[in-house]
Amino acid sequence: MSTVAHLEEEVKSSAWSGGKSPFSVEYGKLMMWFFLLSDVFTFSALLIFYGAMRFKSHSWPDPDVVFKSVPGVEHGEYPLVFVGIMTFILIASSVTMVLAVEAGHRNSRKEVLNWMILTIIGGFTFLGCQAWEWSHLIHEGMSLHHNPFINADGSTGAVQFGQLFFVITGFHGFHVFTGVIINIIITINVLIGTYERRGHYLMVEKVGLYWHFVDLVWVFVFTLFYLV
């Protein structure tokens, strides 16, 4: 019995005591990773189903024809230009986020604040771009149950196209929106000096993980909807 008690004592006082993570990351960060892993499976289910729908169809609307418009240009034909700008904005906001995390390691409150504000601006710009693209496509007659675009081979367009596009980009856009909201909350905390008093900027790292994940999903959405 005493050996068991001894072992228990050893476990409690070692790295597995619960006070310190065996992965040497903080509890909240580990849970963020697990949450993101579950989100990976949600997005994968949507995207792989979309892939299966395309795979079973003889033809599919040509992305270069569907996504060819740019704001401010009437009847312009610029395939991929606008979505290219959106991709650049999101990657750039991911960089500003990781720079905020880097500044957090140096406990530089002012720098964290600047990079966080830039990240929020990037997030809102992306959302604005997506809102414009959605309203443009809805204006052209695309909806959850209607697809005005013909397939690449000239046949009637696949009806699932509109639904898959709106549901998947909508789910991603919702993640961007919540990401921006969480970023704003964290920025307010940086502003009022919560993390300075706490002595570390781990919360910025955690929200950073979520923000990079949003960027990661966009990389896949971009490839599967706009390129393939």
């Binding site: 990773w33 499976f41 892939g51 795979f55 990781v98 880097e102 990389v219 971009f222």
Partner: protein
């Protein structure tokens, strides 16, 4: 015990030191470069019939996985975490390979049964 903790905090410090500003910008330009290659394929190589759309699709997906790996490894800092965490996060993704295979078989069946 205290010596043990010092080792951990020391390691932790080194991990963070490995993600410098110059490395961040380097990863950014790699991501930007890969995206530009994708644009080049879509807007120049394909219209000029360098290769077929099927080959391009494989290239797109391969480049996307490269970008995803860079984001997860450097921006999400996973490369500098403990091996246990890396395996814990990356290994479950294996299930997706099975999922993809399953849906391709299903899609193939639908493609040839519905005319």
């Amino acid at each position: 015990m205290s010596a043990h903790e010092t080792t951990i905090s020391h390691e932790h410090h080194e991990e963070h030191a490995s993600m410098t500003k110059s490395l961040i910008w380097k990863v950014f330009f790699i991501l930007l470069g890969v995206t530009l290659v994708e644009f080049f394929i879509a807007l120049y190589a394909l219209p000029h019939h360098w290769f077929s759309q099927e080959i391009a699709n494989f290239v797109y997906i391969a480049l996307t996985i490269v970008k995803a790996a860079y984001i997860v490894a450097y921006f999400m800092h996973l490369k500098f975490e403990k091996i246990g965490l890396i395996i814990g996060v990356v290994l479950p993704i294996v299930f997706l390979v099975y999922f993809v295979a399953l849906m391709i078989i299903e899609g193939n069946h639908l493609l040839f049964s519905i005319k």
